[in-house]
C-alpha cells in the first residue's frame, strides 16, 4: 500500500525509462533510513521540517517502520518485529533515532594487502563532534591476523620474567624477546593490544595497503533494551536498500558485552 503510493514522479531528469517504483520504495541512503524511521519526510522523499504537522507523526510513522526490515530474514519474526515497532512508536514515549549524538556505529569490512597477501580487516567508526561540525572517526579495529598474533590466554599458561631478574640487570629479557609467540605474556595484567595502533603502524611502514571496502553495516543501540543492525540490500523488488538486517532484545545491562561481541573481542 505504502510502496505503491511511493511511486510519485518528481521533476524529470530525462526521458521516461520505465517503472521506477522500486527506486522510490528503496531506502536509498542511511539518511533516508533515519528520516523514514523518524517519519521526517514525505512519501516522495521531501523532508519535513520540525514544526510541520506531519514531522514525526506517529500514525504515518508506523507504515514506514513496517517496511524498514529485510523481509527475507526469517530470524526477524513477525512477533519480534511488532514488539519492536510497538516499543519504538509508543505513544507516550516514542524513540527517534539521533544521527549526531545517538549510540550507533559503523562496521566497515575492508580488503587490505599485507605483503602480497589479501586480508579482511574490520574497521569500526563512529561520529564525533569536532569544531564546527562532525566527522567519522576510527575507534576500533579487528583483524584475525592481529588477534591470532596476540591470543588471549589463561594466566596459568603465561610465561613470565621471574621476580629476581632485577639482580641480573634483567638479562633474561634477551630470552623473552626472542620468544616472539609469547611476547604479550610479559605484559601487565589486563593488557589489551591496541589493534588500531597496529593497523596505523603497518600502513605507515608500507607493509599494509588499503585495497577496497567490501561491506558496510551499522549497529544501533539507541532503542532501550533493543539492538538492531542495518545493511544495504542491492536486489530487485521493493524491499531493498538500507534495511534492518538483524534485530534482538538486549537488556541495557548486557549491551556492553554485546558490543564486545560485535567488536569480535
Amino acid at each position: 500500500m505504502l510502496i505503491t503510493s511511493l511511486a510519485y514522479s518528481q521533476d524529470p531528469l530525462g526521458e521516461y525509462l520505465g517503472d521506477e517504483s522500486a527506486f522510490y520504495a528503496e531506502t536509498k541512503q542511511v539518511n533516508q533510513f533515519f528520516r523514514r524511521f523518524n517519519n521526517e519526510e514525505s512519501k516522495d522523499g521531501v523532508r519535513y521540517n520540525p514544526g510541520d504537522k506531519k514531522y514525526r507523526d506517529l500514525r504515518e510513522r508506523k507504515n514506514y517502520l513496517d517496511i524498514l526490515f529485510d523481509a527475507q530474514n526469517s530470524s526477524i519474526t513477525r512477533d519480534l518485529k511488532q514488539q519492536f515497532i510497538a516499543d519504538v512508536n509508543n505513544e507516550t514515549n516514542p524513540t527517534f533515532l539521533d544521527f549526531r549524538n545517538g549510540d550507533w556505529f559503523s562496521e566497515v569490512a575492508a580488503k587490505f594487502d599485507y605483503r602480497g597477501q589479501e586480508q579482511i580487516i574490520y574497521l569500526y567508526l563512529r561520529l564525533e563532534q569536532d569544531r564546527k561540525g562532525y566527522k567519522w572517526v576510527l575507534h576500533h579495529v579487528h583483524s584475525d591476523k592481529y588477534s591470532s598474533m596476540m591470543p588471549e590466554k589463561e594466566s596459568e599458561e603465561k610465561k613470565f620474567i621471574h621476580p629476581m631478574s632485577h639482580e641480573l640487570d634483567f638479562m633474561n629479557l634477551n630470552k623473552a624477546f626472542q620468544d616472539t609467540d609469547h611476547l604479550q605474556d610479559y605484559a601487565v595484567k589486563g593488557y589489551k593490544p591496541d589493534y588500531l595502533t597496529m593497523l596505523l603502524y603497518d600502513i605507515k611502514r608500507g607493509d599494509l595497503k588499503f585495497k577496497t571496502v567490501t561491506d558496510v553495516k551499522f549497529h544501533f543501540f539507541q532503542v532501550d533494551n533493543w539492538y538492531f543492525e542495518i545493511a544495504e540490500f542491492n536486489r530487485s523488488g521493493m524491499n531493498r536498500g538500507w534495511l534492518i538486517s538483524s534485530l534482538a532484545k538486549v537488556p541495557e545491562t548486557q549491551k556492553e558485552n554485546f558490543r564486545k561481541y560485535l567488536f569480535r573481542e
Binding site: 514522479s9 518528481q10 521533476d11 524529470p12 531528469l13 530525462g14 526521458e15 521516461y16 525509462l17 520505465g18 517503472d19 521506477e20 522500486a22 527506486f23 522510490y24 536509498k28 541512503q29 539518511n31 533516508q32 528520516r35 522523499g45 523532508r47 521540517n49 544521527f99 549526531r100 580488503k111 569536532d130 569544531r131 564546527k132 561540525g133 562532525y134 566527522k135 585495497k211 577496497t212 571496502v213 567490501t214 561491506d215 542491492n234 536486489r235 530487485s236
Partner: protein
C-alpha cells in the same frame, strides 16, 4: 589596447578570488527552511548538469575537441581530488578512479553507439556540517547505460550514483557590492550497479 583590457580583467578576477578567500565566512546561524530548499535545488541542478555533461562526453557523435572541452567544464563542478568508486553486481569490490580518468574512459569507450539516460528519481540527504564549517550532503540518482558494439552486441546496465555535495557560504565583491553566494562543489561519487 585589447591586451590591456585582458590584463585588467585578469587583475579583476584575481581580486575576486582573493576576496573570496578573505570573506569566506566562519560562522553562520541555522539556515531558514526556504534557504535550505534553495541550496538543495542548486545542488541538484549541479548534479543534473553533471548528468548532461556525462551524456555529451559518452555520446559518440560528440567531436573529440568538444568532448574535451566539456570534460573541462564538468571538472569545474568538482572539488579537487574527487574520485569515483565503482562496483558491479558480480563483485562487491569497489574500484577507485579519479573523476578525470572516469571521463576519459567514458569518452574512449569502444562502442559504436552509446546511450546514457537518467531516471526521474532523485534523493537529497540532509546537509551536515563538517569540522571546517563546510556543509556536506549526498544526492542519489539512477542512470541507465546502453552501449552497442560494431557487431551489434548490446551491453546495458543501471547504476545508482551517490554523489557527495560540498556547500560553503562565501562572499565576494562585484561592482562595488558585497555578494553572498553558495559555493557548491561535487565530491566523491559512489557508483554501484543495481537492478531496476
Amino acid at each position: 589596447m585589447k591586451s590591456i583590457k585582458y590584463i585588467f580583467t585578469g587583475v579583476f578576477l584575481l581580486f575576486l578570488q582573493l576576496n573570496t578567500q578573505l570573506f569566506a565566512q566562519t560562522n553562520e546561524p541555522e539556515l531558514a527552511p526556504g534557504r535550505k530548499a534553495a541550496i538543495d535545488s542548486l545542488a541538484l541542478e549541479k548534479v543534473r548538469d553533471l548528468s548532461k555533461y556525462i551524456s555529451i562526453i559518452g555520446d559518440k557523435e560528440t567531436p573529440f575537441s568538444e568532448a574535451n572541452r566539456v570534460i573541462e567544464r564538468a571538472m569545474e563542478l568538482f572539488a579537487e581530488g574527487a574520485q569515483m568508486g565503482v562496483s558491479s553486481l558480480n563483485s562487491q569490490e569497489v574500484k577507485y578512479y579519479g573523476v578525470r580518468t572516469y571521463f576519459r574512459r567514458l569518452m574512449a569507450l569502444n562502442y559504436d553507439k552509446v546511450k546514457i539516460s537518467w531516471f526521474n528519481i532523485q534523493y537529497i540527504s540532509d546537509l551536515e556540517r563538517q569540522p571546517d564549517g563546510r556543509y556536506v550532503g549526498v544526492i542519489t540518482i539512477y542512470q541507465k547505460f546502453e552501449g552497442i558494439s560494431e557487431d551489434g552486441m548490446k551491453y546495458q546496465d543501471t547504476t545508482k550514483k551517490d554523489i557527495t555535495v560540498f556547500v560553503e557560504r562565501k562572499q565576494t565583491q562585484i561592482g562595488g557590492r558585497l555578494i553572498g553566494f553558495w559555493d557548491v562543489l561535487l565530491g566523491d561519487i559512489r557508483v554501484s550497479e543495481t537492478t531496476q
